[in-house]
């Protein structure tokens, strides 16, 4: 048997090795940053959560102290209510809008709408909230007539405590949902044409196609969205903090758990307590993500 030439071109092999090294360099840089600004601070926070100001081990004392704080239960309730409003609205409206957008096919209307949906998400979070502070003040709002029709004549009436979950949901949806609509649109585009064609031949209308074909095939994307939205929602901070400043405290500077964490750290000088609450949020978010992944078969091969 004679030796045969390698089927791989040496030049291409060198190119492949170069790309591989470049890939490794990118991964290494990312890993380094992840360790420096993700893993190390997390470990440091864990250490803080189980120690006192002098560095002595305290077991769960910081968790007990913060849980007994008179604001803790209220903050948990506020965040839980907000999460229900936020996740429900996100799933229903994002999926619904993406399906409607997809029905418009890929014409100029669809492209324009996708661009418009994406704009609010491109604004920084704090800037988005500031836009909303302007919108919610009946005296200066461009939609003051609508606010007036709803019975709101002053900013104080709009930001009444009972309205806050809805307001924060609206702000978060406006800020974050557009990007998800674009993602869902992309996922809908990836549904094989023959599957859609088969549904059409079988006599499925728009609603049946959406319910029985498209939504099931979007399942993993929806789960992915819910996991990230849950983590982001549990960390509610910017919206209530800015609203609190704008309303000179009426909205409360301890509305969410993250605001409470901030207060523990920088008002009560209890960094260890703040770290304990942060750990609780981390555990809850990770547990929720694990539950969603396990129940949805997120990592199952298709």
């Amino acid at each position: 048997m004679t030796a045969t030439a390698s089927p791989v071109d040496p030049g291409r092999r060198r190119g492949g090795a170069g790309r591989s090294r470049a890939g490794l360099a990118f991964v290494a840089a990312y890993t380094l940053l992840l360790v420096a600004f993700g893993a190390v601070p997390t470990c440091y926070a864990i250490w803080f959560a189980f120690t006192d100001a002098g560095g002595g081990f305290t077991g769960f004392a910081n968790f007990v102290t913060t849980a007994r704080d008179f604001r803790f239960a209220d903050s948990v309730g506020h965040v839980a209510l907000y999460l229900v409003c936020w996740l429900l609205s996100l799933v229903v409206f994002v999926v619904g809008l993406a399906l409607m957008l997809h029905r418009l096919s890929s014409g100029p209307v669809s492209r324009t709408l996708r661009f418009l949906y994406y704009i609010p998400g491109a604004l920084a979070g704090a800037a988005s909230v500031l836009v909303w502070l302007f919108m919610l003040d009946p005296t200066v709002s461009p939609v003051s007539a609508l606010l007036g029709a709803l019975g709101f004549d002053t900013f104080g009436q709009v930001i009444a405590p009972g309205n806050l979950p809805v307001l924060f949901t609206a702000i978060a949806f406006w800020t974050g949902a557009g990007g998800w609509i674009v993602v869902m649109y992309g996922a809908l585009d990836n549904i094989p044409q023959d599957v859609m064609e088969a549904a059409r031949i079988d006599g499925a209308g728009a609603w049946q196609t959406a319910w029985h074909v498209q939504i099931p095939m979007l399942r993993k994307w929806i789960v992915y969205m819910v996991i990230l939205a849950f983590a982001g929602g549990a960390q509610l901070f910017v919206e209530p903090q800015l609203l609190s400043l704008a309303s000179v405290g009426v909205a409360g500077r301890d509305y969410s758990l993250n605001q409470l964490t901030y207060d523990f750290a920088f008002q009560l000088n209890n960094v260890n307590g703040a770290a304990a609450v942060s750990m609780e949020l981390l555990v809850v978010s990770l547990s929720a993500a694990g539950l969603f992944v396990a129940r949805s078969g997120f990592f199952d091969a298709d």
Binding site: V40, P41, T42, Y44, A45, F48, F70, R71, G121, G125, A126, D137, T139, V140, T154, F155, G156, Q157, A160, P161, A172, T175, G176, A177, G178, G179, W180, V183, L228, A229, A231, G232, G233, Q235, L236, V238, E239, L245, S247, V248, G249, V250, A251, G252, R253, N258, T261, Y262, F264, A265, F266, Q267, L268, N269, V271, A274, A275, S278, L281, L282
Partner: protein, 431 residues
């Protein structure tokens, strides 16, 4: 998709981690002598620092503008905690619009004692009676008061004349006038109850013992006392007949709808410039100043106080002499306090000059003596604790007021909230 925008879960820990990392590299020693004097001021006090710089070109001054802890932002406290960890970065002198800075700044080891050799006793003696009480912790002075914010009764003189009313001297007369205004000139106002500092204007002046700081970590809270209930009833009546607004003077709807409707307005000394001239754009020669009303039968006059800034000097400063010179100049010198300062100076000789300057400027009408008299009539039964009374009122009482509940019905909830906040700061609460 906006997860990153709302991800301060580990903010405190990350900040602390970074701070500790820097601390490990730093020496922990104060900045070397010979550098610039770092002065932190709010936007309003930038002019004061610049004026000092112009008059003292030999001093290297690094003027840093920050929010002055306005609305209880706690910016200074947050930064000092981080500086304490890193061992450097403290400003040499800092202005704060909050009166309770000394309560934490002493604990945090930031504020330098001023009456132990830094500021002469005869200079300190020139401050108005009680002006520096908020700066005194365990008998030692840790800051100097910039201005006083004693409450007085502001009134629209042409309107009062036009309506044929006289300025009320007692709260009972004030209440009757409010009722007359509601009946005869609906829409006009005798005050507002919509600001977070409303209790400091009305309830403090009524000797309501909601915030009696009795020791470094002790407070008496009794919102059920007569001082609180009688003023709550008065305000509820006027809110009900709409002669008292539930919108604050700085809210956009007040400026738009009610700016021209203010007949009377109890408020602090700084209302003349900041509210009537700058915010409500009231015409010159319109607003007069009268003493805050008193309850019939009360033997000694009492009024409340809303803010009034303080200046602190850092214990870590490597330029203590220069810092003390700046501190003394900015709080006592006529060049700024007597002539340029927007608020009523806490330093009495400068206050005399300031009143003359105000009279000469000609915006306010009539005798301004009520401002001077009120400066020594602030009721001492209300203090400046570490917890914010304004935040408690804003979060506990104001939403209820907006929704039509009475102040009287909210007094128990107010009491409960004050007690909880005070206890969370380690205060021993009695009632």
């Amino acid at each position: 998709m906006s997860v990153d925008k709302r991800r301060p879960v580990l903010l405190a820990a990350c900040a602390a981690a970074l701070a500790m990392t820097v601390a490990a590299c730093g020496s922990g020693a104060p900045a070397k002598a010979g550098g610039a004097l770092t002065v932190w001021v709010d936007a309003t006090r930038v002019a004061a620092a610049k004026q000092y710089q112009a008059l003292h070109p030999e001093v290297k001054l690094d003027i840093v503008s920050y929010d002055g802890d306005a609305n209880g932002s706690n910016y200074l406290q947050t930064k000092v905690q981080l500086f304490n960890r890193t061992g450097k970065g403290w400003p040499d002198v800092v202005f704060s619009s909050q009166n309770n800075e000394a309560t934490w700044a002493v604990d945090a080891g930031f504020a330098a004692p001023l009456d132990k050799g830094l500021v002469p006793a005869d200079t300190l003696a020139g401050f108005a009676k009680g002006a520096n009480d908020v700066c005194t912790v365990d008998g030692t002075l840790y800051c100097l008061r910039n201005d006083l914010s004693q409450a007085v009764l502001w009134y629209n003189e042409p309107l009062m004349k036009q309506f044929g009313y006289t300025v009320p001297k007692t709260w009972e007369e004030y209440q009757k006038l409010g009722e007359k205004v509601a009946a005869e000139h609906p829409g006009y106002l005798v005050g507002d109850a919509g600001d977070s500092y409303t209790p400091e204007i009305y309830l403090w002046a009524s000797k309501c013992e909601a915030n009696h700081i009795t020791g470094p970590k002790a407070v008496t809270v009794n919102t059920g006392g007569e001082g609180c209930t009688r003023m709550a009833a008065l305000m509820d009546g006027l809110i009900k007949n709409r002669s008292m607004s539930v919108s604050g003077v700085f809210s956009t709807d007040f400026g738009k709808n009610q700016a021209a409707k203010v007949l009377l307005m109890p408020g602090p000394a700084w209302y003349g410039g900041a509210v009537f001239r700058d915010t409500l754009k009231t015409a010159p020669k319109t607003i007069g100043v009268a003493p805050i009303p008193q309850w019939q039968g009360d033997t000694a006059p009492a009024t409340g106080n809303v803010g009034g800034g303080t200046w602190l000097l850092s214990k870590h400063s490597a330029h203590q002499k220069a810092a003390t010179d700046f501190l003394t100049w900015v709080t006592t010198d006529n060049a700024y306090q007597g002539e340029k300062a927007p608020g009523f100076p806490a330093y009495a000789p400068a206050a005399e000059n300031w009143l003359k300057a105000q009279a000469a400027a000609g915006y306010l009408v009539g005798d301004l003596g009520a401002l001077k008299d009120a400066s020594s009539q602030v009721w001492p039964g209300w203090g400046s604790g570490q917890f914010s009374q304004e935040s408690v009122w804003a979060a506990t009482v104001k939403p209820g007021l907006t929704q039509g509940q009475s102040i009287a019905s909210l007094l128990p909830a107010w009491q409960d909230s004050i007690v909880k906040h005070a206890e969370s700061f380690g205060y021993k609460v009695s009632s």
